[in-house]
């Protein structure tokens, strides 16, 4: 069943974005009486599509949906459009709950005044990816941060380092017992500067190595999130 995220629920009626209603009628070509899955406020519903003068989405029943076992905050430099899109889509598939884009010294992409337009695009990508991989929540995309703004009081905090040789991701992931929230910083092409990594260490982020392979920047989030899923697998 096709899945959509509702923006509101009024009694038995679900309010969907107009682009989703367009998708239902013109892309999926659904008929009156067809069913869809609708997520609202992290609850998954089975709903009936009623086509009359317009389209109405009506409550049918509650379905069982899996929620994410832990809160995963992915912190990534702003990348070129295609790579950024890939990271957002894959991070959504692999369970990131929040994504914080950051500006670093070695970032190639400059935002200038395009931030709100980019955020809009990124939000659309994670929403569509969430529908496609049938999540019951959409990752939150934060405003663009600087390194010094990454000041969080809770959770396990990691930075994927190109300088660290001793402590690897395995040492950390083997000890996730009771971890409810994890922050993971990925560096840009060319890595974080020494200053930036030091600043992150001061903010409580532990530098880890991902092993000997040389990976492109956009591969790193998929690598780390795959491993995290693996370690959380029952």
């Amino acid at each position: 069943m096709q899945r959509y995220f509702a923006v509101d629920k009024r009694d038995d009626l679900f309010i969907l974005e107009s682009s989703d209603l367009h998708h239902i009628s013109n892309v999926m070509r659904m008929k009156d009486g067809d069913f869809v899955e609708v997520v609202f406020d992290k609850v998954l519903y089975k709903c009936k599509v009623v086509i009359d003068n317009g389209i109405t989405i009506i409550y049918d029943s509650i379905l069982h949906g899996n929620d994410d076992p832990i809160d995963i905050v992915l912190i990534v430099p702003i990348l070129k459009e295609q790579k950024m899109d890939l990271v957002l889509q894959k991070a959504t598939e692999l369970g990131a709950t929040r994504i914080i884009p950051i500006i670093t010294e070695r970032c190639i992409v400059k935002l200038n005044d395009k931030e709100s337009k980019k955020l809009e695009r990124w939000s659309r990508i994670v929403k569509e990816a969430s529908e496609q991989c049938k999540r019951i929540s959409i990752p939150i995309i934060d405003n663009v941060h600087t390194i010094s703004e990454l000041n969080f009081s809770d959770g396990v905090k990691l930075v994927c380092s190109t300088r660290e040789n001793e402590k690897n991701i395995k040492n950390i992931m083997h000890n996730l017992n009771g971890c409810a929230k994890m922050y993971i910083v990925v560096g840009p092409e060319g890595g974080l500067s020494i200053d930036e990594e030091n600043k992150l260490n001061d903010l409580g982020f532990v530098s880890i190595t991902l092993g000997k392979r040389i990976m492109r920047v956009e591969t790193v989030p998929m690598f780390v999130l795959s491993i995290l899923n693996y370690e959380l697998m029952e």
Copy 2:
């Protein structure tokens, strides 16, 4: 140092493809006396670029290169161009040593008479990815196979299944002691047919689940290879 794969070595002279020589002189704009890394026959060399009437690549010294700890054979359905390119690039970064494209019932892409052209394209992608991530071997790309041709006598054989619920990838990966070769089959969008999976099971492939997440086809190889790298990490 930029890395290239030589096609031949004659005494102290390394023979590179003309596109690599073009890359050295016109893209990297190297000068007479600059150094490059050259891999030949799984050995990594430091070489001097000699620019005279043409470009010559001359032996300087042997460098230390990491070889792959185990043989990883990735077996993937033929995907649409962009997704196939992504899988090949990421599989190379994550250490696949051989890639076998397969035709399955639910493959969307039909090859017709384009196989040799595709193979050429795919080989170019894995060569470039190998240079970029500084491997000392390039994954071998096999001819397109059918399921029945996947008959191998050695190694651990896995098929990523959408039907299996019990045996997960963790059960297998936790017991890799002494494994020298692994075959991993990934299904197409919509999964392998029951017949195909049964045939693979008959050929010794063990069906495993990757957990509860719904992943796009192209995400699956990255997921499995990330986990494999993780388990092989020291």
